[in-house]
Symmetry: none
Subunit: 264 residues, 2 copies
Amino acid sequence: MKAAHFLMDESPKKKTLRQLDLMGFLEKSGYASVEELTTRFSVTSQTIRRDIADLAMQGRVRRHHGGVALTSPIDAQTYRQRRVERFTIKHRIARRVAELVPDGASVFLDAGSTCEAVAEALCERKELKVVTYSLRAAVILTDRTDFTIAVPGGFVKNVAGSVMGESMSEFIRRFRFDTAIIAVSGIDEDGAMGDDDQNEVSIVRTAIGQARSTLLATDSSKFYRTALVHLGNVTEVDDLVTDAKPEGALQHTLAASQVNLHIA
Amino acid sequence: MKAAHFLMDESPKKKTLRQLDLMGFLEKSGYASVEELTTRFSVTSQTIRRDIADLAMQGRVRRHHGGVALTSPIDAQTYRQRRVERFTIKHRIARRVAELVPDGASVFLDAGSTCEAVAEALCERKELKVVTYSLRAAVILTDRTDFTIAVPGGFVKNVAGSVMGESMSEFIRRFRFDTAIIAVSGIDEDGAMGDDDQNEVSIVRTAIGQARSTLLATDSSKFYRTALVHLGNVTEVDDLVTDAKPEGALQHTLAASQVNLHIA
DNA sequence: AATCATATGTTGAAAAACCGACATTTCAGC
DNA sequence: GCTGAAATGTCGGTTTTTCAACATATGATT
């Protein structure tokens, strides 16, 4: 009973997840106040402090009165390196995605960092019509292109910079897409795709329903990760763009389906 | 006592020097606590706080309980650029505007470059509720704060990064504002304010109607310029923040009204 | 169901940091 | 030397943060 315990269990607990997320946030800004973090994660200051205490124990952050900072904050070099690293993976995928989108197409674009990279890559196309609920993607596209771009209205979710509101699906339903470009938080071995936010899932499902074809863009770290909310099955998508071929069960699931696999 | 000549190694302003040094230190570590800084510079915490207050006023650092952090994780280039930007007219005006907005307020924020500068300055406030149809402003605020932010849905107007749609006014009408922060393209000598886009004017008018007070932020180049679409009269606004006192007729128009004039 | 472990929320008192007002120092210019 | 402005220090009262101890929830194991 206990032997199996430390051999197998790799599933990240909530706490660990949040701490990981917290680190990600820190790496962007270098410093974060406890207050910011409490609202960002919707937990008590005490919980944040416990997270911080853990991370500080591991020497990964520096504690301060009122917040946390990175220990070896954004050493210009590592920072650049990280950027480059992300550039290669996410941007390789993004470029591949952009190649699959014809000029003049009407596109739905999901939120999340991968989709922001896709937005950048889409700038190379011409005369696209894009609907997205990612503010950042919208800004990237308006700044660099003259595409027709639409965003739904609502409240902005801080973590992702995505828009959330009551009538999102209604808004999306007003459009038809040649392609829905989506991203997910995890894909199970049986091909179950999932995300961490119920609302986002609902939006994406609506978009898929309005689209002639669905394109899933995700890096291989998402394989075999289970996400909170079920979004659908990977066999429903028409194209899957990723950076490495999935191994094992997932590979078979895909092979047995109609999914076009693109390795960037 | 004159004996302490070994302390006299400072030539220009001590204060300025230390602040410069402090910035240098910050750029390495991204964050520094007040305590660290007191020992590093051998001065009182109060002095450090005054330095910090100065720098924060200039928008060069973010204050936190216990210390300071850089506003943005530095990229030498952007940093230099920011530094210049900080002292432009728009940013001076923006800072003044932010001072007039109390923590916790609900505000409407117009679109345009001045309002984007205001968005940056508003990051210093706390727990604001912001409704804006400027995508860029929305992104700035979501990236740097945990405010509640809402944007209306619609198509994005490329040049300005503002959102336009049928039901904009309806969306705006769902909110009440403590302050509507607006910008205009021109102000006539008789106080007539105008903008160049019929839709934007309609949105702004609606917002003003929902606001307890209206704050006009505009640089002095807008004085005596006539814009296409009439928006209202400057006497309707409660506060006018600008960079230079208007001369001539407009000055009298303002003096005869209830407008509070703030020169940044 | 009972039990245990883990994660999170709550509370109240102690500690730390803040701010304003005023005192003191420094130094340039008369 | 005297004076005034700028910079810094000191002091107290206030606000914010922290921490420890306890309570509650959730979930897995038996």
